[in-house]
Amino acid sequence: MKFIMSLIAAALVASPVIAAPDGAKLFAEKTCNACHGPKGDKPLMPNYPKIAGQNAAYTEQQMKDIKSGARNNGQTAAMKGVMHLVNDEEIKAISEYLVKLK
């Protein structure tokens, strides 16, 4: 019981400082790598974008628009199938990871 209490306490103390999601990890876990390449620079199909180094505000907006359906042209049908795997916070983290890639 004591142990559980201290676990809860630890969790409460720790929760405000939980680190922002890890963009690199998300990029692989959420299947982005499958189509865009492990480093975002080798897309599976020639008409899929290279996204390494793309500016974060642009990537973030495109992901949100594809997810919401506001953007539904081009190859978005392929991308839309996986966009429910990420939330806004994760989209931001992935975007910030991508901008750092070359």
Partner: protein, 241 residues
């Protein structure tokens, strides 16, 4: 060789080079639809002996979404594949590639398989994997009721083809459904009922047509509780619950 095969494939399909979206081939919506017609690379791949070792390499790209274990995702985005019949795997991949099963996310991957041999290899490898014991199940508070209700419905009409333990029938292309994610099962059954799975078996469509959404929930809940003795992965030793 790879390039020329790809080119031939693209030319014969009548589409421009590297031009997704996928080709659209007549499916269940067209009058002359013949389910599982004996044609194309599916038939070729089915005749070949798959090589597990080469299949493991071919599977690498699949693993990004379906995971190296083949387990897919409990949210139903990607199906559990491990232990699936090679016949089913080959047919579904060939159908996606030929445009009778619409799946824009999967299409480009199906398209990267170069020839029937690679299809047969990947399928042989996937079939040899053990079915993960932990997967997406129905998680509502009424799970026991749903599973019981689903069992009754399943035994009435589904069992005949999909088997007592969800083992399907390999040479009839009936899939293994034991170990499959609840949400995937529900999504596919709904799509088959509503005519969106264009490569569906018309016999299945006929049977599933009268079922309500609630009934499909119950059936999926039961199906995802099925286990196939002998095909499931062994629990990891020393793993704590």
């Amino acid at each position: 060789m790879k390039t020329s095969l790809l080119l031939i494939g693209l030319l014969s399909a009548g589409i421009a080079f590297a031009g997704p979206p996928a080709p659209k081939h007549g499916g269940i919506e067209s009058k002359d639809y013949k389910w599982n017609a004996d044609e194309g690379e599916k038939s070729e791949a089915l005749k070949l002996k798959g090589d597990k070792k080469r299949g493991e390499e071919a599977y690498e790209v699949c693993g990004a979404c379906h995971l190296p274990s083949g387990a897919g995702r409990p949210d139903g985005t990607f199906p559990q594949l491990a232990g699936q019949h090679t016949t089913v795997l080959i047919k579904q991949m060939a159908d996606i590639r030929a445009g009778t099963r619409d799946n824009p996310t999967m299409y480009p991957f199906a398209a990267t398989l170069t020839d029937p041999q690679e299809l047969a290899d990947a399928a042989a490898y996937i079939e040899s994997l053990c079915i993960p014991i932990e997967h997406g199940k129905y998680e509502g508070a009424d799970a026991a009721t749903q599973v019981a209700k689903g069992k009754e419905l399943y035994e009435k009409q589904c069992l005949e083809c999909h088997g007592k333990n969800g083992e399907g029938v390999k040479d009839k292309f009936y899939p293994v459904i034991a170990g499959q994610h609840y949400k995937y099962l529900l999504r596919q059954m709904t799509e088959i009922r509503d005519g969106h799975r264009r490569n569906a078996n018309p016999d299945m469509v006929k049977i599933i047509k009268p079922y309500t959404n609630d009934q499909l929930v119950a059936i999926s809940a039961y199906q995802s509780s099925l286990v196939m003795p002998g095909n499931m992965c062994k629990p990891k030793a020393g793993k704590k619950k």
